[in-house]
Symmetry: C2
Subunit: 122 residues, 2 copies
DNA sequence: TAATTGTATTAATATGCATAATACAAAGAG
DNA sequence: CTCTTTGTATTATGCATATTAATACAATTA
């Protein structure tokens, strides 16, 4: 599991981390039971402050993606726990599809792209 | 064309405006040649500062979605001008699909949702 | 017992968003 | 031509959030 940070991005570092983990879990790169890097290890390795890493872990924990235990580190949760579909996610999906459509992509092209993203690639 | 602002949202006001316009164009609510509200009118009506409205207009102009002319106001551009597909859009799409997948939605459910969003509804 | 884990605390800094009050150039209306 | 409307530029200020920093703590495991 490789984490990369873009310090030029307008996306906050803690969200960059959270988003990469979510995608990795969805694509099977991270499986239930897998351990995430420790807060301090990832901080040292990336140069990002430990509290920023911790903030991402707390967010993912609250969202149900991972669980953290004393001394146990952060562990990817089993997929059985139902995670709520936020209306915000659908709104963001709507925006992405609108942008792709206005860029000239047709319905089937977009559907194909979505299928590829769902299955794993890219 | 109704614009609504959520002052509690973490999405900046100028981006809220931009996103709503992009979606409206994609869904045909706004058509090429249509006029957007004037900066001052939308500012007065919504309570959002005029410079914030202007910032959204400048962004949409730069992205190619609208054009602004002196005295002419803001006009929705024709769809012929090719708008670049940013890699950022695909990344955000990837994140949305991953979130939906982890919430329990299957491939076909997601594809159906995407088709509906593409065609207009919601 | 000693070390490692996520986390809490407090403080400081930086960046971006938003507002406010004005002013200007261009272009259409009369 | 004159006046009004349009988007835009300018400058300043306030505010929220992100990030860093330096410690410290509780729980758990080796």
């Amino acid at each position: 599991m490789y984490i990369t940070f873009d310090f030029q991005s307008d996306v906050p570092l803690y969200l960059q981390l959270r988003n990469q983990v979510v995608i990795a879990i969805s694509k099977g790169v991270l499986k239930p039971g897998d351990h995430l890097p420790t807060v301090r290890a990832l901080s040292d390795e990336s140069g990002v402050n430990a509290m920023t890493i911790s903030k991402a872990y707390q967010l993912m924990k609250q969202e149900g993606y991972i669980s953290t235990e004393r001394r146990g580190g952060a562990v990817v949760s089993a997929g059985d726990k139902e995670i709520k579909v936020s209306k915000d996610t659908v709104n963001r999906l709507d925006l992405c599809i609108s942008e792709l459509r206005l860029s000239g992509m047709g319905e089937e092209q977009i559907v194909d792209l979505c299928r590829r993203l769902y299955r794993e690639e890219e």
